[in-house]
Symmetry: C2
Subunit: 462 residues, 2 copies
C-alpha cells in the first residue's frame, strides 16, 4: 500500500461522521473530515434537526403565553412574537452547536477540509469548491454524506412560496394558511410546528394512514391533537399540480381527486434523496442505488471492505441518534477496537407537538406475532408535573407479558416523552419486568412517575 | 373484635395517605380518609410541594424572557410579570390536583371525612371541627398526618414580613431583598426561587456546609449558580434576634457573630415538626417523640401492630415520592397482599434552579467505604438539547467500578435532572454496567444523551 495522509477520511460531518471521527481519534488515528464550507455539522445542524427542534422548543415556550388559561391573561400578544424572535434563537443555537463540533474536532486533533469530496480511487479523495483543489488519501474511508430533500416533478420548488424543508427558515412570517405535502415524520413535525405557531395547515399524503410503525392509540392521539390546532388531514390524496398566483400572494394545489386547496405557502416534505450519487463513487468501485443510497453489511462496510458508510446515506432508520452510533461502531470495527453490533433495541423520537417516543414492539406487531400481552396506561392528566408544565394531554403505555410480567414495549406521547422513554429502554435492555416500575420510587413531581402509574394500572388487570 | 365501620381509616390525605387508601381500595377493602376541611391532598398539595414546584416551573418559564440573550430582546419586561400571574398558575394547579385526588377517592369508593382526627382508643377515631363531631372505627389505622413548619423562639413569625413556608404564597410582590433562614433542601429551593424572581437573597444556616448527602461537585456547582443570581451564603451563622421596622417596611436580622442583615421579608425554613403530637395518640397507646414523630418497623407498623404510620410523620427521608411508596406498602402489608420492602435505592430530587437529582452513593461515601471507582462526566454545554432549552450549566456524573464497570451512582444538576435520573436508577436496580450507556442509542436531541457522553468519557479513562 502507498503511504497515506490519514488513517481515516470521513466524508460528511453530520452525526455519523462526527462520532466516527472522534472515535477514531480516541484510538489515536490520524483523521480528516471533509465537508462543504459552512456546513460543519451537516444537515443536522444547519437545515435539519437542530433548527427545526430549536424552533419547536421556542414555539412551545412561547405558546404557553398564547393560552389565556396559563397565566390568566394573554401576554405578550401574538403580534409581539415575530418570526424574527424565533430566528434569533435558531441562529444562536446553530452557531453554538457548530462551534461545539469544531472545538471537538480540534481537541481531538482531527483535520477539517472544506469542500466537496469526490472519489479519485478507492483510497483517494479530491476536495473541490474552495480556493484550490486538493487530493488526500487514507487507508480507510467512511461515507457519511447524508441526504437532501427529494423533489417531485409535479411540484416546482420556487424557494419562496413552494419550499422544501431546507428552505423552511427563509419564511419571514407565519403563513396564515399552509399546505404540507408528506405526512411522514418530517412532514408531521413541520405541520405541528406551523399549526402551533398559528397557521392553518392542510397535510397531504398519498398513503391512507400515517406513521405505520407507531402504536395506533398514540397515532390517533396525535391526530386528535393536531386537529385541535386546526390541521386538516388529506390522506390517500396526491398533488398533481401547484399554481402560484404571485400577484395575489396565494397558491393552489390540485389533488388527483379533483379537490383544490389554497394556501400562502406549500412545504414539500415527502422523502429525502441520499447524497451517495454525488461522490463519483464509481471511481472507488461503488454503485449507489437509484435513491443515492449505499449498501453496507452489519459492520457498515460497503462492497469495498476498507470503505465504510453510515448515517442517512445507508437508509433506514436514518435517525440522528442511530447514525451517531453507526459512525462510532464503523470506526471501532475498521480499527479493530472491541465493539458491539448495532443494538436491535433503540427508541424512536418524533418531535411533533406533542412529542412521541417509543421503544420495543407495538400492540399491532405483538398481535401479529401472536405474543399475548397486557397493557398498563398512565394519563398525564393524573400527574402533577404535567399540570405544572401545562401539558395534560399526554399518555404512557406499557406492554408486558401476562405470564412472566416481562416488559415488552413502551409507547408515549406528551411532554418529555423522548426523554423518559429511556427509562423503559433501560429496563427492556436488562430484561426487566413491569414490577420494577411498581416497586421503584420516582421523584415527585416528575413525568417519569407515569411509569409507576402505568405499572399499577397494568398489574391491577391481572 | 367489635363490628367496625371500615377496614382501614387513613389519617391524612397527603401522598402517603392517598396511596395507602387507594391500594387498600384496590384490595376491595372499606376505606375512610380523614383530613381537615379544604386540605384534601395535604400539605403537599396546598402549601408544600405542589405550590412551590408550580411557582418554580412558572418562574423558569418566565425567566427565559428576562434573559435578553434568549430571544435577542427582553419581553415582556419585568414589570409586566406580576406575582399575580404566578399566583394564578399556582391556584389553577392546586385546584386541579385537589380535584384529581377527590376523583380518585370517589372512583375507588373511598369515604372522605372532613375534620381533625383524634384517637378515642386504638380502633376508634373522633372527627371534630366540622358541623358535628363523629366517631368512626376500623380494624386498621394508618397515621399519615405529615408535618408543619417548625418554629424558633428567637424568630417571631408575624405572617407578614417574617413568614414560614406555609405562608409563602401570601407574598404579594417579589421582595427586593429576602432573608432565608435554613439552607436545607426546602430553604435552598425557596432561596433559588426568590433569586430567580429577582430578589437579592441572604441564606443563613447554623451548619457550615449545605446538603451533606449530595455529591460535593454538584453542591459546589449549585452554590456557584446561586451566587450568580446574587444569593449570599451566611453559613455557620445563627440568627439571634429579628426586628421589624413596620413604618420603614424593613426588617433586620442579628446574627450571633454580630452581623446585622436587612431585608424586606424573612422566610423561616429551618426544619419541620411532625403532627404526631396532635392526634391524642396516647389514647391508642402510642407515644410520639419530642419532634412529633412516630416510630415504625420495616413494615410501617407502630408499637400497636394494627396501627401503621407512613410519610413525613415517621421522619427520614420525608420525600413525597418515598411517602407514597410507604403508604402503598403499609396497606399491602396490613391486608396480606404480596409486597416488597421499601427499596433501598431511591432517587433524591432537589428542586432548586438548576435542579439536582441523585441515585446511589456519592464519591465521598464510596471513598469512605474504600470502594474504588472511576468517574464519567457529561456537561450540558456539549448537548444540543440543553442549548435549545437555554440551560447550558448542567452536568451528569456517572460513578462506576473500575474493574467490572458496574454502575455505582448517578449525580446530576441541570434541567430535567429529576426526570433523567430514573434512567440511571433502572440500570443500577438491574446491576447494569456503564457500558450499557455507551452501547445504547439515545433519542437526539435529548438531555438523556448525557448518559452516553458521560459513559464514553469515563470508559476512555480506563
Amino acid at each position: 500500500m502507498n503511504p497515506t495522509d490519514y488513517d481515516l477520511i470521513v466524508i460528511g460531518s453530520g452525526p455519523a461522521g462526527q462520532k466516527a471521527a472522534i472515535a477514531a481519534a480516541k484510538l489515536r488515528k490520524r483523521v480528516a473530515v471533509v465537508d462543504r464550507r459552512l456546513m460543519i455539522g451537516g444537515t443536522c445542524v444547519h437545515t435539519g434537526t437542530i433548527p427545526s427542534k430549536t424552533l419547536r422548543e421556542a414555539t412551545i415556550h412561547l405558546s404557553a403565553f398564547r393560552d389565556g388559561n396559563f397565566y390568566g391573561r394573554e401576554f405578550p400578544s401574538r403580534e409581539e412574537i415575530s418570526v424574527r424572535d424565533l430566528a434569533f434563537r435558531v441562529q444562536a443555537v446553530v452557531t453554538r452547536e457548530t462551534s461545539v463540533i469544531q472545538a471537538q474536532f480540534k481537541r481531538n486533533g482531527i483535520t477539517v477540509h472544506e469542500g466537496s469530496a469526490e472519489f479519485i480511487d478507492s483510497h483517494t479523495i479530491s476536495i473541490a469548491g474552495t480556493d484550490q483543489e486538493r487530493e488526500i488519501c487514507a487507508e480507510h474511508i467512511l461515507i457519511a454524506c447524508g441526504t437532501r430533500p427529494a423533489h417531485n416533478p409535479d411540484i416546482w420548488i420556487d424557494g419562496k412560496r413552494v419550499i422544501d424543508t431546507d428552505q423552511f427558515l427563509a419564511i419571514t412570517q407565519v403563513p396564515r394558511e399552509s399546505i404540507v405535502v408528506g405526512a411522514g415524520v418530517v412532514g408531521l413535525e413541520y405541520a405541528s410546528l406551523l399549526a402551533t405557531l398559528g397557521s392553518e395547515v392542510t397535510l397531504i399524503d398519498q398513503r391512507s394512514t400515517i406513521l405505520d410503525f407507531v402504536d395506533r392509540e398514540i397515532v390517533e392521539a396525535l391526530a386528535y391533537h393536531l386537529r385541535r390546532v386546526r390541521v386538516t388531514f388529506r390522506l390517500g390524496e396526491k398533488v398533481t399540480h401547484v399554481e402560484v398566483h404571485e400577484e395575489r400572494e396565494r397558491l393552489f394545489a390540485e389533488l388527483e381527486s379533483g379537490k383544490k386547496i389554497q394556501g400562502d405557502v406549500l412545504l414539500y416534505a415527502a422523502g429525502r434523496q441520499a447524497n451517495g450519487d454525488q461522490l463519483r463513487s464509481e471511481a472507488a468501485g461503488l454503485q449507489p442505488d437509484e435513491r443515492g443510497r449505499l449498501k453496507v453489511n452489519s459492520s457498515f462496510q460497503t462492497d469495498i471492505p476498507h470503505i465504510y458508510a453510515a448515517g442517512d446515506v445507508i437508509g433506514f432508520p436514518a435517525l440522528a441518534s442511530t447514525s451517531m452510533e453507526q459512525g462510532r461502531l464503523a470506526s471501532c470495527h475498521m480499527f479493530g477496537a472491541p465493539c458491539e453490533h448495532m443494538p436491535e433495541l433503540f427508541p424512536y423520537g418524533i418531535y411533533t407537538i406533542p412529542e412521541i417516543s417509543m421503544v420495543g414492539p407495538t400492540e399491532e406487531s405483538l398481535t401479529q406475532n401472536k405474543i399475548p400481552y397486557e397493557v398498563g396506561i398512565a394519563r398525564y392528566s393524573d400527574l402533577a408535573k404535567s399540570m405544572m408544565l401545562g401539558d395534560e394531554c399526554g399518555m404512557l403505555k406499557l406492554l408486558f407479558n401476562r405470564h412472566d410480567r416481562k416488559l415488552l414495549g413502551v409507547h408515549a406521547i406528551g411532554a418529555r416523552a423522548t426523554e423518559i422513554i429511556h427509562i423503559g429502554q433501560a429496563v427492556l435492555a436488562h430484561c426487566g419486568s413491569v414490577e420494577y416500575f411498581r416497586d421503584a420510587v420516582f421523584n415527585y413531581p416528575t413525568l417519569a412517575e407515569a411509569y409507576k402509574v402505568a405499572a399499577l394500572d397494568g398489574l391491577n388487570k391481572l
